[in-house]
Amino acid sequence: MADPMKIRATLQGDVADVRVLMAHPMETGQRKQGDKVVPLHFIQNVTAQLNGATVFSADISQSISRNPVFAFKVKGAKAGDKVVITWQDNTGDKRTDETTVRAAGS
């Protein structure tokens, strides 16, 4: 099972600055280990919800770096709002983690 994400959602005014770190090898299918090619293994889809509503979603390729990092911003957020992020990879593996929006400096 995949390791947990690290999600940080910090309020700046009424904008939540959301940063997420994901533990994933993002194998391109081109890398060799010994003389064996490591098969393609990468996150294809990321969705983020703020209090249940989808605010950000992404379809991505194996060109995204290993252990992916994304950041996005949502206007109209307030402290305590729930952020839920889910990724799914090409093998069907999935992971969902959540956090709450925090005021800057708290």
């Binding site: 979603s57 770096s65 990092v69 206007k75």
Partner: protein, 154 residues
């Protein structure tokens, strides 16, 4: 999303049907649009754009790509894309000289600002191109990122 809508229209789906799906279509979630295999497996940027339905993209200085002129390491190149075009619903990123240039599409809804930070692998010095969808139209800009050899190389 736009491409899905166009395909639906092209395929002769009635307006009624479109209206019925309207709620789902307006919401740029990925529920409806499956991961676009054709676009992601395209080996050139032109083919990737075609598969994605990008047409008549207009060069725009309202899209800002913030990426290093010279990357410290091609394996992790930080890229920020901001669209200042009103009504931006998505940003797509292409890394022109990668084996598979189409790198991803980022959709914004419900108050999300048209901005994304990502980190990508760049195989060599290449333009990084962003394509924005706003009000059903396509806008684009690009920035060259230089990839060099950093350390001892041993």
């Amino acid at each position: 999303m736009e491409s899905t809508r166009r395909k639906l229209l092209k395929a002769g789906w009635g307006l009624g049907l479109l209206a019925a799906f309207g709620a789902a279509l307006v919401k740029p979630g990925r529920a409806l649009a499956a991961w676009n295999k054709g676009a992601f497996e395209a080996k050139t940027m032109a083919d990737g754009m075609k598969a994605l339905g990008v047409a008549n993209a207009v060069e725009s200085s309202e899209i800002v790509i913030h990426a290093p002129q010279i990357a410290e390491n091609g394996a992790v190149v930080p890229i920020d894309v901001t669209s200042n075009i009103p009504g931006t619903s998505s940003i797509s990123v292409f890394i022109e000289k990668n084996p598979f240039p189409y790198t991803g599409t980022f959709d914004f809804a419900q108050g999300a600002i048209a901005f994304v930070h990502l980190r990508a692998k760049l195989g060599e010095t290449t333009p990084v191109r962003a394509v924005v969808v706003a009000g059903g139209k396509y806008y684009t800009t690009a920035k060259e990122v230089k990839v060099t050899i950093g350390g001892c190389g041993g």
